[in-house]
Subunit: 256 residues, 2 copies
DNA sequence: ACATGAATATTGGAT
DNA sequence: ATCCAATTTTCATGT
């Protein structure tokens, strides 16, 4: 897995190492070093001399990490061109992206270590609890939202966006359902309100609006009430009820 | 900078290494290994056996990277508790976060290498081209938006959100300005529309709405026209005009 | 702790 | 290529 390693390299040696390992195109390359980082593109930034981990993945994506947080200090998704060289006696990496036009430049002021690693493509990845899944589930079992609900459409496009679930209730009224997998904010209420308004205009019928989410912020609930809309508490990760013989949630998902 | 390294460790040795290095609390720890990763919390996921880079930073944040993309496959911001052990002859790391209640579990099936690194806190970081900066600039130079504009307020709260810039035009009409540092979508138009409506209701006056952004999507522009709102093309990274003696943008920023 | 909103958001999907 | 919407969004900020 670890293809090559270079400890305390001289600038020229580091540049050569990076050039060779990046050119191979099938490895992840890392450098631990005191660095100076410039970024220019959608925005622009300078990170003055400090210790960073610089990582270039197989797809040309670049990330510069510091000692804390999940997010890198500097990054660049899938770059199109990477050039390595020695400038003013310092190894330098320049990664460029064409659309949008962007650039990151890392100067390795005091490299401690460089590493090249091959990571094979890896096995299956299954995620449970997405909004898409929640939508599929409710389309199949609309009674979870409300008894007697009949789903007419999913992702129905309107002039102001797509309606998650479009349905008719037991009394024959049209219903717009907006789903959120996490706590719903007032933005979700505005979204729902727009959809309801749009359907009212288009059909002339009376239209109900339901916000379905595990929870909602207090302002969102207030606003919902003011607009005559409804809230339905619904988890994205439902309790699996299989009569006591409980199965791990992910086993369920993987085999369904 | 590199504190410790362990090549092709046995499970017990890896567990001991991780325990010791993580307990120190002042280093970034990495493991390159074939792994199996479980996540459970806001959602839930399983990554079946595959090669990954697992990184635990000094703040307890965890990220599991595969061979591509900037975003990790699995992650966990600033965890509260990390436990390492050997289970079924395999070294296992379990990181837990309390709010929200979340957990990542990594089983190191075939560890190739483990690394402990100290990254010092690093130097200054300056970013240019944020929306906040754009807002400050326009508040000082509202004529960039429109001649004769007088700014009344910034981040003015309404019942439906905060107005970026609130102003009065040369003709004495109220103006709501919505800023976007990137291409504006129809969501930005809806936002602006809500603000304008809210101010109209509150004041009874006539109110103009201006969307100021470097560009906007075609649907956004159409909608803007339909609602009687205006578009003003404005970059978040303005051309620096200093009479020909052009300076690098970031030098400007760093010294101002 | 909660709510809000920006972000160099990134990423995947649809058109 | 463009547009759109989700995201385990993360993160900083204000209350």
């Amino acid at each position: 897995m670890v293809v090559a390693q270079l400890d305390l390299p001289e600038p020229a040696a580091l540049a050569e190492f990076l050039d060779e390992q990046l050119r191979a195109g099938d490895r992840l390359v890392q450098v631990f070093s005191e660095c100076e980082v410039l970024y220019s593109g959608r925005a622009a930034s300078v990170a003055e001399a400090g210790d960073y981990l610089v990582m270039v993945k197989q797809d040309g994506s670049v990330q510069v990490h510091n000692y804390r947080s999940v997010k890198p200090v500097n990054w660049q998704p899938q770059t199109d061109d990477i050039v390595v060289g020695v400038e003013d006696g310092v190894a330098v990496l320049r990664a460029e992206r064409f659309t949008p036009s962007e650039m990151v430049r890392v100067a390795f002021l005091a490299p401690a270590m460089a590493l090249a690693v091959r990571l094979s493509e890896g096995g299956d990845f299954v995620l449970v609890g997405s909004e898409a899944e929640m939508q599929r589930r409710l389309a199949r079992h609309p009674e979870v939202v409300e008894a007697g609900l009949e789903v007419l459409d999913r992702e129905l496009p309107t002039d102001v966006g797509g309606i998650d679930l479009f349905a008719r209730d037991a009394a024959g009224r049209l219903v717009v359902v907006e789903l959120k997998r996490g706590k719903a904010s007032h933005e979700a209420v505005h979204q729902l309100s727009r959809y309801v308004e749009s359907v009212r205009r288009a059909t002339g019928e009376q239209v109900r609006g339901i916000l379905a989410a595990p929870s909602a912020t207090a302002p969102a609930l207030t606003q919902l009430g003011n607009l005559g809309l409804e809230f339905r508490e619904l988890s994205a990760l439902p309790e699996v009820d299989d009569g006591g013989a409980s199965q791990p949630l992910l086993f369920e998902a993987a085999t369904s």
